[in-house]
Amino acid sequence: MSELTTGKFSMAISDLENVQITINNIVGAIEKEADEIDVEMGPTVKPGVSSLRDWDHNILDRYNPVYTPMCDQCCYCTFGPCDLSGNKEGACGINLEGHNAREFMLRVITGAAAHSGHGRHLLHHLIGLYGKDHPLDVGATNIIAPNVQLVTGVSPKTLGDLDSVLSYVEEQITQLLAAVHVGQEGAAIDFESKALHGGMIDHVGMEISDIAQISCLDFPKSDEEAPLADIGMGCLDSSKPTLIVIGHNVAAVTDIIDYMEDKGLNDKIELGGLCCTALDMTRYKTGDRTLPRAKVVGTLAKELKTIRSGIPDVIIVDEQCIRADVLKEASKLMIPVITTNDKVMYGLKDRSNDSIEDILEDLTTGKEKGALMFDYEKLGELAPRLTMMMSEIRKQKGIKRLPTDEELKELADSCVHCLKCEVACPNSLPISEAMTALSEGDLSNFELLHDKCIACGRCEYACPKDIDIVNVIEKSSQRVISEEVGKVRVGRGPISDPEIREEGVNLVLGTTPGIVALVGCSNYPDGTKDLFTIADEMLRRSYIVVVSGCSAMDLGMYKGEDGMTLYEKYPSRFKSGGLLNTGSCVSNAHITGAVIKVASIFAQKNISGNYEEIADYTLNRVGAVGVAWGAYSQKAASIGTGCSRLGIPVILGPHGSKYRRALIAKPYEEEKWKVYDARNGSEMQIPAAPDYLLTTAETVEEMMPMLAKSCIRPSDNNMGRMIKLTHYIELSQKYLGIMPEDWHKFVRTETDLPLAKREKLLKILEKEHGWEIDWKRKKILSGPAMKSDVSAQPTNLKRLCKEA
């Protein structure tokens, strides 16, 4: 038997019949390949559940888990329900802290499983179409998969290489899920470590999903000039037959787009998407910068409204963020629904093996409300044909959509103002007041509510008069909805190596004030405009703003005073003042990927199996902060938790408190704000920033100064610290009306002070904080808690210190 290594196996077989050769995993292949190409492997190649536990405990010692349970009971097993209130122990011995840590971990691995399950489905599909040897190509980079490489040591080159990495991801998720079983782990902190493990694994799973689709489906590849796509409920031309796709997995849709193109149907059918499938539909075949084949309607918050509008003639769903009642709602308006993924089947019959004509017959006559279809080639033809037919049928039948003007008035008049809808509303929207105004013919209150309403429909269930409140909001807001037309930059994929090479130094020294990543879903506290406000402010201040998923969509809905969306105004380059859309939900991996690449390309660090070292580097040197302002999903929890383990702080909107766990540090615990200087192992004091790894903010106004502070790192040089401090002070004054209480704690020397305010600030330091100032030379003589030393190498890890 000959010895085989990865990518080095070839043999000529001739004259053999009925011989099947199966090669499974090649044992020791990674290590062997590493030896050959001289890659140094770190201590944690393919880490197991406990391999990075020391690092987790290290960061959790400063960033303490904060539990805010939604329920004080545990009902996981038949011992229960157990009352855990006041941190009591239940029948199995677990206390409220432990149970909440366990629940948080479950949330994280649910999210990770959603992404990697998506990845597995996609990879299986793409390998079927393109083969295991199809090369990976994501643009100008030598590091195709930074997360994969950092965690597993594998530098994947082909689709087949991703297959084995995904098996590792799946094994870890299974091991983590096993820990949820009753009994076993009693220490909250070790559930936390497991949650962090799940978050890290999630970024590996997301990366696999996205680089597979980028490589096969002609998506933009690290493209700074990816085209713009239309977005908004108002961008659909409802006079045309309309096909709407909802979900996250583009696999089912590509055949539809191909069929439409082949048959010249692009101008005849409106193809729109909701949630991340929409973003990935716009990426399909736009690698050459041609115009996207589909329009983006919006986020999950627009799903019910889009269905209730009656505009879709056919709805296709795939997986993840899809309302569970799509079939029920669509059927009321005679919209057939086709499910395409085993995660969502709605009880429909599997028609994968039936003829297209039979299915068309059953759906157009209303004999069946929908169909389950796993054969995507068949779906490619079925969906457009069905859309054309249903459009005619639905027009002829005069399907009743939203209430008429008269009915609207009647509905408003029937409101008894009991406030039950407001109690049920997740955002406590003032519906009762808006009903009164509507009764008097004033639509403006509801027009304002439309954007703040996430169209969940809870109000309708609460209403004792059975008013379809979502319809009332939608009907009242037709004018606003028709104006909902914007532009979103098609997802560009990863950040290229040349971009990192140019910008890395500015990030580590602080002269680019930071990366602000706007990610996650659409459960905002006060409407969609918050995202525009945040990005607009931070871009003006030359932060790099990276976006993905639903946040990338909502950001494109607004125009500035110049009539342009931010995507049209700012370059899509990874540089100071750049606005980059990486793509869909799974493209979040490119954001952590960029941070890992900063360590690799700028700092020349090895990034293979040495996760702890790179996370330590990020935490101490890369000023990046994530914002998931409308996070609702378990996936958002896992993405954020992956950032936590990598040392990137994340702020959630107020609804994020319902994840029930944060990681918050205490700036007043001075002993916690010390790290080592890797040059000699001595201890050095660092500023208390970031003072959380996962937390929430109440309003965007509050978050603005938090963002600036979160980008401060011990490695900032004086110019960098000065820039960051300037933004921190200015944003606090602008949005809170005050100087931040702790600004002086970030000052190491006079050159850290904002130039224009230096003298004034020196006076405050002398007067209010007792610092000694040499006024002749305008120098600080004493006062700062830490020294300014740009060549210091801050680290949390004693083992990385020279003299250790």
């Binding site: 539990y67 209130s85 406030l419 109690v423 506290p525 205490k666 109440e698 009306g737 005050i738």
Partner: protein, 171 residues
Amino acid sequence: MVDVIKNTQIHCTYGCKSSKAVQPDVAGKMISKAKRPLFIVGSQILKDEELLKRSIEIAKKADLPVAATGHSMSGLVDQGINAKYINVHALATYLCDPNWTGLDGNGQYDTIVVLGHFKYYIDQVLSGLKSFSKIKSIAIEREYIQNATMSFGNITPAVHIEALDELIENL
């Protein structure tokens, strides 16, 4: 006297412990009796002039130190009250730490009063305090806050203002 405890229906009732409904006069007296009170004022006071006015009045009359959360600070500066900005999630974390010395360095608080917050947000934040601290919390919002120790019920904005006036009378 207005009745604010009639409607205490909440949309989720799971959990074993939920707050006691309280009338404004009783709440006022309890605030006055507290040894180390802290008034936690959220950004929603900025949406209603009348609410902002009463927040300031409560702080002044009962001489309460104010933790200004969200961006409520922008409405509280130069109002002659002792207000400091702090993030409410961080504040709740520190409130669970017996070693925290408070916003003024004089020690941990025994009673907190909350006003001007998103219902769902303050409810989550208070759930941590309910489970992991001994601090008493009094919610004087216009919504029933189930994780407080005591709370008003679900009331209209007009009744809420009336209730706050009555509370102020009893300080």
